[in-house]
Symmetry: C2
Subunit: 230 residues, 2 copies
DNA sequence: CGACACGTTGAGTTACGTCAATACCCGTGG
DNA sequence: CCACGGGTATTGACGTAACTCAACGTGTCG
C-alpha cells in the first residue's frame, strides 16, 4: 500500500493513467499499489507467467521483449516514465518485461487492477487512450523495421531517442545519451550489433552525428536524418 | 442510423465491442452508426485525415498500412470480422485503412463514438480489452518480422493464416486460401514479392506445404512449420 | 592496474533485392 | 469457343547489403 502523500509528490502524477482519477479514487487505487525498484537487467515479468503484476513506470526505462529458441532477444517495445505495463485481461504474459536502467515502479496485482478498471470508468478510458497510443507507436516501429536499409533504421532510432530526450515536444535534442546498448538497439531494429555500430560510424563520417564516448550522441544534422527515414 | 433489428441479426454480435453493452445502450449506439460496404481496394481512411470514422468490421478483411515517400506500402496490421478500426482520441489518422476483400462495416463518426465511450463505461472496457489484444498481436508481428530469415517469416505467416482459417482455436487448417496476394504478404513481412514466392516454393519442395492454384494452400507438415518459426 | 563488458573495425560469405523473362489466371470481346 | 490483355505469380542470373567470424579498442569498476 502506497501512502497517499506519495501520490501527491509523484513525478508522473499528471501524465500517468491515474491522473484521470479523482483524489478519492486515486487514494483507493493507492491502497492496492506498492512501490518497487528494479535494477538494470532485473525482470518484472517473464513470458508465460500466469499471475503477473501490472505497473506504472515512475522513473527509469523498461523493455518488452521475446526470447526465441536459440536465446536471441527481440525487443518489441520500450516503456518510458508514466507508461503503463502489463497486459490486462490476458491469461498469460506474452513477453518478458525487464529494466533497461534502474527503475521505480508503482506496482499493482493484476486482478485487483482489473477490478479497479471495472469500478472506475475514467481509469478505463485513460488506459484506452494510452493503449491506443501504444498501438500507434508499435505500428510505427513496424514501419521503421519493416522494409528499410539498416542505415535508415539506425537513423530513425536516433531520431526517436533524440525526440524523447528533447524538452520541446517533437523537437530533437542536440545532445543526449543513448539509453540502449548496441546489442539492445540491434535487438530492437532486427539487426546485428556490428551492423548497428557500422551505420553509426557512417552517420558520423558523413557529419550527421558525432559520438561522444560510447553512449553520448550529438545530432548535427537533423534534416538529413529525417530524410533518410522517410 | 442502423435499425435495431439489424443488430439483433448481426453476425459479429457476440464478438464485437458492442456485445458488452445492454440492449438499451446498443440501441443508442445504433442510432449514431451506419452500414457501409467497401469493395476490394477501396479506402476507408487515409493517413493524415483529421476527421475520420471508426468502425466495427462485420465481414471481409481490412489492412492498416503506411505508404512511404517512394510509394512502397507497408502493412502494419490486418483486421478481421468483429475487429475495431480507427484510432480514438488521436487528432489525425496515422495509417491508411483499405479493404482487402469486399467488406461490410458498421461505421461511426469518430467524435460521436468517443462521446459514447465516455458515456458507456462497458464500451470503454470492451475497447480496452480489444486494444490490449491488438497490441499483443502487433508485437507478435514485430517478433515475426524481426526474425532473421525470409523462410521463417513466410512459414510464420502461413501458420497465422492457417490458424485463422481453422475452426478449432489454435489448430491449423489443413487447406485454406491465402487472404493476401504475394505483394501484400511481402508488404506485411518486409520482403519482396519474389522472395515470398521463392520461400513458398522452397516449402513446397520440402513437402511441407502444397500450392493449389495461386492462393490455395495445403499444409502437410505443421510441426516443421512451427519449428522454423521458433 | 587489471578484468570484463561493451564497442569498433575488417575480411569473407550468404541471403535477399533487383532486373528481366516467362507463365498463369480470369474477365472481356471478337 | 478462342484470342487477347492485364494483373498476378514464378523462376533465373546477378549484384549488394547485411550477417558471421575474428581481432582489436575502449570505458568502467573493483
Amino acid at each position: 500500500m502506497i501512502p497517499t502523500d506519495h501520490c501527491a509528490a509523484c513525478s508522473v502524477r499528471e501524465q500517468a493513467v491515474c491522473a484521470a482519477l479523482s483524489e478519492a479514487e486515486r487514494s483507493e487505487l493507492a491502497r492496492i499499489g506498492t512501490h518497487r525498484t528494479l535494477h538494470r537487467g532485473e525482470a518484472l515479468v517473464d513470458a508465460g507467467d500466469d499471475n503477473y503484476a501490472c505497473a506504472t513506470l515512475i522513473s527509469g526505462a523498461l523493455k518488452i521483449a521475446a526470447i526465441d529458441a536459440d536465446g536471441t532477444e527481440r525487443i518489441v517495445a520500450l516503456v518510458h516514465p508514466a507508461g503503463f505495463v502489463g497486459e490486462l485481461f490476458a491469461p498469460r504474459a506474452h513477453h518478458h518485461v525487464t529494466a533497461l536502467t534502474d527503475s521505480l515502479l508503482c506496482l499493482f496485482p493484476r486482478m485487483d487492477y482489473e477490478r479497479a478498471v471495472e469500478r472506475y470508468p475514467r481509469l478505463a478510458t485513460a488506459l484506452l487512450r494510452r493503449s491506443t497510443a501504444d498501438l500507434a507507436e508499435t505500428r510505427a516501429l513496424i514501419d521503421l523495421i519493416g522494409r528499410r536499409t539498416s542505415l535508415a533504421r539506425v537513423a530513425g532510432l536516433i531520431l526517436i531517442f533524440g525526440r524523447g530526450a528533447s524538452n520541446t515536444p517533437c523537437g530533437v535534442a542536440a545532445r543526449f545519451d543513448l539509453p540502449l546498448t548496441r546489442g539492445e538497439m540491434a535487438a530492437l531494429l532486427g539487426l546485428t550489433i556490428e551492423t548497428v555500430s557500422r551505420q553509426i560510424g557512417i552517420l558520423e563520417r558523413r557529419g550527421i552525428i558525432k559520438r561522444t564516448g560510447t553512449r553520448g550522441m550529438e545530432v548535427l544534422d537533423v534534416p538529413s536524418l529525417e530524410e533518410m527515414v522517410d
